[in-house]
Symmetry: D2
Subunit: 135 residues, 4 copies
Amino acid sequence: MRHQFRCAMRWADMDAYGHVNNVVYLSYLEEARVDMLFTLGAELGVKALSDGVLVARHEIEYKRPLVYHPRGVAIDLWVGEIKAASFEIRYEVHDDNVLFARAASLLVPYDLEAERPRRVTDEERAFLEKYLAAD
Amino acid sequence: MRHQFRCAMRWADMDAYGHVNNVVYLSYLEEARVDMLFTLGAELGVKALSDGVLVARHEIEYKRPLVYHPRGVAIDLWVGEIKAASFEIRYEVHDDNVLFARAASLLVPYDLEAERPRRVTDEERAFLEKYLAAD
Amino acid sequence: MRHQFRCAMRWADMDAYGHVNNVVYLSYLEEARVDMLFTLGAELGVKALSDGVLVARHEIEYKRPLVYHPRGVAIDLWVGEIKAASFEIRYEVHDDNVLFARAASLLVPYDLEAERPRRVTDEERAFLEKYLAAD
Amino acid sequence: MRHQFRCAMRWADMDAYGHVNNVVYLSYLEEARVDMLFTLGAELGVKALSDGVLVARHEIEYKRPLVYHPRGVAIDLWVGEIKAASFEIRYEVHDDNVLFARAASLLVPYDLEAERPRRVTDEERAFLEKYLAAD
């Protein structure tokens, strides 16, 4: 299952080339992750995931320049892989069947009190598995 | 006495008009304040001012469009007025005798533990008075 | 008449104090202005206002700290005054009857080809007058 | 040869976790690239590289949380590979022998007039080859 998120754009996300700056795409991915992990996680009672998740790695491939539009842009995200102490989220930034970027993030659950990475719990795994998808 | 700060610009501070976006000027003012209050304050042992100061108000007048330059932009700042529980900082954003903006901020010392505004201490007043200047 | 806009927040709009950074409020105001001037203006055929409007001045008063919420924050905006070659927009940033900030911007219509400020046209004045309101 | 750049940080680069937000690292990389390609390129008369270079891909690995410091953070960058119509830049974000992140970007020279990617010129290749380095 893919989680679908419509991300608001800001006019000033565009740089002097008149396109959304490459850095800002990562903000869009962050909003999509927050929407999936914080909001949905909180709804389902999976609190831990919204309390502490570190980003260990990102990769992003830009396919096409993106211009500000008041309706924002769509982001599809799903889970690529779940390991003992990390999981991968994959994304597509698109709109109206046009693909703007493809990305992936490696995320690490983090114990804020003990200040160290921790394992993915069974409860979290069950939540994440619903979004597990072949590309 | 004026405190002088050279603020680094970022290329993406420019928006689709090819000028530094009006919002970003406020980031420049924040960096100049941080430089004056945190860095200098810490050097002089005036810890409190770097621990908690709330912004109560800003006003800014834009004089001329500003374009990214690798050498950054200059900000002069000084203290406009010191009251019992607040003080005003005034700024000029300029470079090479060209004025880009004039601004002022009302700042309120804040007691982070008690979670409420507090009075300006004598020590802080002595520090701020050195920057007190007629416009 | 007030124009009402719900502005999306981004999680990273919060700074190390755990509140939306004071600079980011100005981005929210920009989004609200863009929504009113670009989107509505375009709908009504008032193209000029979406082509070039310079910000000449902002003032903003912070009333209460604001924390990220997935539903965003509400911005009401209206026209404060219309002069020959400028107009003022006034704003309230609020949510659920709590006021977070009050602000005002002075805007100047700009002729992009001639590269100089220009007068408010009759058509623009008619559009703006609908939002003219006593505070 | 590595190009060394000291990147200014902004206090608000930190998010509610009290660390520099993961997205902002990409801004630091952009500043380091701009410094190398625009400034040095301009000095050496290699204009084309500062006129149009698209980002086709980024990857970044976060090694350690980074906290705001007034002296900024150091970025080393060098060229990883030069192909017919693209080249790779590799980076290390570090300070005082502590590594905060490792990253790489694939860049594509772009012909702004013809609005399409173009080949790396001999002149650009000579400039880039000076920064070619084994990791």
